[in-house]
Assembly symmetry: C2
Homo-oligomer: 121 residues x 2
């Protein structure tokens, strides 16, 4: 890890870098962060955008990302109440890595599926 | 998704791109792929390199990555038997996205941990 001396090591179980990987290397975290990379969204908008996510799973994912400083939660005093989620400055530094991962998935998903013989991972 | 027309969409639950995200957006997949990005490794070498992974979890992760065409498994007729794991050509296309993610984690892990008040994700 000479390149990242003192900055962390994902191979060490208790290193902050590993904890960060545990947080973002999660399918819902990736998809939610990607969904927010185009600007602020409400819970219901994300629910509609992201196929297959449950209300509960989306809420848990947003809460975890918010709790670790990657996502803001802003409640507007409207009637009915409006709550928007957005990336923080720290969260925005994830846009490039996440975009790189999703671009890979979009380009190679079919090959991965074919190799798996149609079986789910 | 105009940029990736026809190539998949991670927002769709049943799209190959989403299945690819499910496969790779997993903490052990990320760390194992990163471990293999420097060349072939034996099971025991990976076990030693990757802190906190159990034998069973490592075996399951390698089997899943192998089953989806990302990792080769080569058994050499040595005594004692020697089995090496390596990235396939498809797996090697993941080196850059994974390196981008781990570099982010190594640079920002401390900030993420601090925001979480020391709580695990």
């Amino acid at each position: 890890m000479g390149d990242f001396e003192g900055a962390g090591d994902v191979f060490l179980a208790d290193c902050p870098a590993r904890l960060a990987i545990e947080l973002i290397a999660d399918k819902w975290s990736v998809v939610v962060l990607y969904g927010l990379s185009r600007g602020p969204r409400r819970h219901g908008e994300l629910l509609e955008l992201i196929g297959g996510v449950s209300k509960k799973m989306l809420t848990q994912t947003l809460r975890r990302l918010h709790g670790h400083g990657l996502v803001t939660r802003t409640a507007y005093p409207d009637v009915p109440p409006r709550v928007e989620y957005d990336l923080t400055a720290l969260g925005r530094t994830l846009i490039d890595p996440i975009a790189s991962l999703t671009a890979w998935a979009e380009a190679n998903g079919a090959a991965v599926l074919e190799a798996g013989g149609g079986a789910r991972a």
